[in-house]
Symmetry: C2
Subunit: 414 residues, 2 copies
């Protein structure tokens, strides 16, 4: 079994649009164990379309095509498939009714040109489209099964899931179910995390585990192939358990969870409030907290203290402390957090200061040097870190470092 | 002239990675008037690679391939091209030296397996790689010119611009130069902007002008094809002039410029300072200002006033004002800006308040209702706006609205 994915449209070959349909379909086929060996994109030219479908029907046993099913003259998929199969286009009454109904539902009259969308290669089957006017086409040419779907991503996704995937299962070509479980970590580099789980991420480990780094967040992905979703999940579960045992509190969440989501959960559960005092990150920590729906229950607010006068006057950082240690120092970070907690009357306050770059570095304080302070009922602390990266990367990673400090504090102080 | 772009790698056909190289190359070829008719992606299989190159060399007169040039066993581009050309692989001493030097520069010893990267199809030419170890391949098979480049985007971009594009110009296949000029607008919707320039964006207008909307920023793109860059720029210039005349201060910048960059320029030129008082946007306005290198010269800081107590205690908004009008009101937005300007001692202060959703709406204050306040030496004001969109969209668009108020104020009050 070898599959090919075809994308049709000059808007892709001329670089106007990025083709994401092929990528999406490749992932879906990988989930059910069907290997994709080719992606082909072709412009809106009839002979080129015919050639591409002919080659695909010969070398692949399954072809999924997207695009070229609209009502205009440059929509050529119907005609190309009929030509390759050596059959005529025939009118399909039922599809025509569905297209008319789709227009009626939107209170619009069907333009005459949409009639061509009810033409199908003889011997093919119409795939209903519940999200748009263009029906899909399902047919066999030689030994190859072909499905033609609309190019509009939302219509294509729905048609694949509702109609094409069940057909693949019926044919028995969809072998098993492949799932992906993502585990998110923060607080150590990629290689430090690798060293804790060399056996798990080794090539040949079943299920396969991949590791990626993005903006200081390290993600582990478990890919499990099972006879069913439950079977695949049962294979992934013990691997996740091992990873969590070895990495401990480095693991902060799964799938699309961000550090602020975890902070939200912990603060809500413990009924504690938080405030922010930011210099380096200039509001980014507050903004990430504010992204979480319901943040106002525990996030009281924050101070962006860019200028030193705001550190002293609003946050109450002693002027001498800044003169003695500099605004970028553990002492000032800690005092910012303490002052912020007092002024904004919260249970916890977190602060940031540092050199974001590109300017501002000194001999002993290079670009990327940052401090994160934390103040709580009965104590305070500051940690330092040195990042490499651009101004935006240093700001973004330090904001994560600050959110992670809050998370670790709440975990430890049950 | 018909061109084909080939992407090589199982990580693309299996859906792990999204292919952006083909899209990038299509745009570059479109700029020089070369039509791309096919994109082909093939997995790491020798016979499939040979077949794909054979088909491409027959149907296209130019083939640009990316990927498959690494040192490992699944890097098959060299071998596939040699097989299609019917020639042997030969060792290229000069490339071997360059690969060794690339490792030496990084203080690493060259692994023995990298030696294969110095093998080339007989009769081909090596394309130097200044950013990585894999040299590219330039050769003619039949009537077709082929360039094979690395799959790593940054290496490929550099190799295309430095070596492949000049070769295309030499061959005389790069016809003219296509440029794109992007003009960014904020403060009106897509259709309102269209109505001011219907003739300019009409189909068939030369040069072509496209319009796109992204997160409330409307961008106009002028695409001009000329015999040279200067000729193309000369065609675009009068269209840009017309657009600027019709749209006035709706145009805020060009290319990748953001509102905060313009605010930075204006504040620096006028030597004025700014502070922020944010409820709804929770630090996002401050964060965008802080993204600009050198922001500390004019950005003193800000207050994230999520809780009403912070609005009253830190910003000095009268408690009665909140009780009378609610925290989401023009009156409170204006008072926040005024209080912020006084407390943080700046020339200007901008504020935001509103209902970000999904919760928090009342009968007369729906999700998406926002107020932006502005205070300056001698005055203050507040405007309101109603957005549709998610929580993050409402926050992001309101942050732009706030930055735009600052921009318009600085423009008017020279």
């Amino acid at each position: 079994m070898k599959a090919e994915i075809i994308s049709i449209g000059s808007e892709i070959t001329n670089g106007q649009n990025l083709d994401t349909n092929s990528h999406w379909l490749s992932r879906r086929l990988a989930e059910v164990g069907i290997p994709v060996c080719w992606h082909t994109t072709v412009a809106d030219d009839l002979q080129d379309n015919i050639d591409v479908f002919r080659v695909a029907a010969q070398r692949a046993s399954l072809v999924l095509a997207t695009g070229g099913l609209g009502p205009t003259l440059d929509d050529l998929t119907r005609e190309a498939m009929a030509k390759v199969a050596g059959v005529e286009l025939v009118f399909h009454e039922e599809s025509f009714e569905q297209i008319k109904q789709m227009f009626a539902k939107r209170n619009r009259t069907m333009p005459e040109r949409n009639r061509v969308q009810a033409l199908f290669p003889a011997g093919s089957e119409a795939i209903p489209n519940h999200c748009g006017t263009a029906p899909g086409i399902w047919m066999k040419i030689g030994d190859c099964w072909l499905a033609a779907m609309p190019g509009v991503p939302s219509e294509m996704y729905a048609m694949y899931q509702t109609s094409v995937l069940p057909k693949l299962a019926e044919l028995g070509v969809a072998r098993g179910v492949r799932i992906q479980r993502k585990i998110n970590c923060f607080g150590a580099g990629e290689s430090a995390i690798e060293e804790k789980i060399p056996d798990v991420i080794a090539r040949g480990h079943v299920p396969e585990v991949g590791i990626t780094a993005s903006d200081a967040t390290i993600s582990l992905r478990i890919f499990a192939l099972g006879t069913s979703r439950a079977d695949a999940e049962a294979q992934a579960a013990p691997v996740e358990k091992t990873i969590r045992e070895r990495l401990g509190s480095l693991v902060y969440g799964v799938e699309d969870e961000e550090l602020q989501d975890v902070v939200h959960r912990l603060l809500s559960a413990k009924r504690k409030t938080l405030a922010t005092a930011e210099s380096l990150t200039a509001g980014l920590v507050a903004h990430r907290l504010g992204q979480v729906p319901g943040a106002s229950a525990w996030f009281r607010g924050g101070i962006v203290a860019y200028h030193n006068e705001i550190k002293t006057q609003i946050l109450g950082v002693p002027r001498e402390l800044i003169e003695q240690h500099g605004a970028v120092s553990a002492e000032v970070a800690e005092a910012m957090a303490v002052g912020c907690r007092t002024r904004l009357r919260t249970d916890l306050a977190v602060s940031t200061t540092g050199i974001a770059g590109p300017g501002g570095a000194t001999a002993d304080k290079p670009v990327g040097l940052v401090y994160v302070g934390l103040a709580w009922d009965g104590g305070s602390e500051a940690i330092s870190y040195s990042w490499s990266g651009t101004r935006l990367e240093v700001q973004s990673r330090t904001a994560k470092l600050a959110l992670n400090r809050v998370r670790l504090h709440l975990l430890k102080n049950g």
